[in-house]
């Protein structure tokens, strides 16, 4: 199967395939709708971290402290956060 390459969010890595996946539905934006606010601005790191940790917890029941460490590891090299 040929895979269609799609951009990934520069904050969390979420694959952005459809316009509604992008901040404000604008496909030229580097971040996804989950990592941005109503004006399309990138949310604070702590908020993105908590959101990502909650994905691990809610989907697979991973312990909160481990979920937080996994989210930190995921975000560490993302363009939005690697220099923080």
């Amino acid at each position: 199967m040929a895979s269609e390459k799609c951009p990934a969010c520069g904050s969390c890595g979420f694959p952005m395939e459809k316009p509604e996946d992008f901040a404000l539905g604008d496909t030229s934006r580097p971040y996804c709708r989950h990592c941005t606010d109503a004006r399309g601005e990138l949310l604070p790191y702590e908020q993105v971290l908590e959101t990502n940790a909650s994905y691990y917890e809610q989907s697979q029941g991973i312990k909160p402290d481990v979920a937080m460490r996994m989210a930190q590891a995921m975000l560490a090299d993302m363009p939005a956060w690697r220099d923080r």
Binding site: K5, G61, R69, M70, M74
Partner: protein, 195 residues
């Protein structure tokens, strides 16, 4: 045909590396395969690998991301056609069966891999879980499925799938246990959730 731009050449090289890595990881294991092995398999200098992937971990993650992209494409097809839970499960297993040798290594070695790699795999699982939860909720509202604790029902599905994949030599005679046994796993899961 216009000559490829530098960016296109770079992307093509990156793709070759990802494909070669997926192949070698599947055959020799993720922890045991070196970047030098991967470079050699496609006639590339070892140093060139690091132009594209600064660390070995980044290359492993790129392979998992490729897997994630294929899943996203399959799920989009199932979602757009509103085909329901069975179609979501089939979409999941279709991608697993295409990449099964690599995936088998990944789930077998996962507890020993760096946290960053493991986090990427489990985030992929979160994406699969989301699709299952949405489809299951629709089935529940239509009176065809019972209500479950979300992590528990996802872990039931992924645990079942992983057991067959990790022990694939015990369950399948061909190359893909998901191709041979996948439909019976789906039937079992659908019976389990039925209202």
């Amino acid at each position: 045909m216009l000559p490829a731009t530098r960016q296109e050449q770079k992307e093509a090289t990156r793709e070759r590396l990802v494909n070669a890595a997926m192949d070698l990881f599947a055959r020799g294991g993720i922890a045991q395969t070196t970047t030098a092995d991967i470079a050699k398999s496609i006639g590339m200098s070892h140093g060139n690998v690091f132009v594209h992937f600064p660390t070995r971990e980044d290359l492993v993650i790129a392979v998992i991301d490729e897997f994630g992209r294929r899943l996203a494409t399959e799920f989009r097809g199932a979602f757009e056609k509103e085909l329901g839970l069975r179609a979501v499960l089939r979409a999941h297993l279709r991608v697993l069966s295409e990449l099964e040798p690599f995936y088998a290594r990944l789930v077998t070695e996962a507890p020993l891999l760096p946290l960053k790699v493991r986090s990427t795999l489990l985030m992929l699982h979160a994406g699969v879980a989301r699709e299952i939860f949405i489809a299951l909720e629709k089935e529940r509202k239509a009176g065809r499925a019972r209500k479950f604790e979300k992590p528990m029902i996802f872990n039931t599905w992924i645990g079942l799938v992983h057991h067959y994949i990790v022990n694939r030599d015990l369950f399948a005679s061909g190359d893909s246990v998901m191709a041979e046994r996948g439909e019976s796993l789906i039937n079992h899961f659908m019976t389990l959730v039925k209202a």
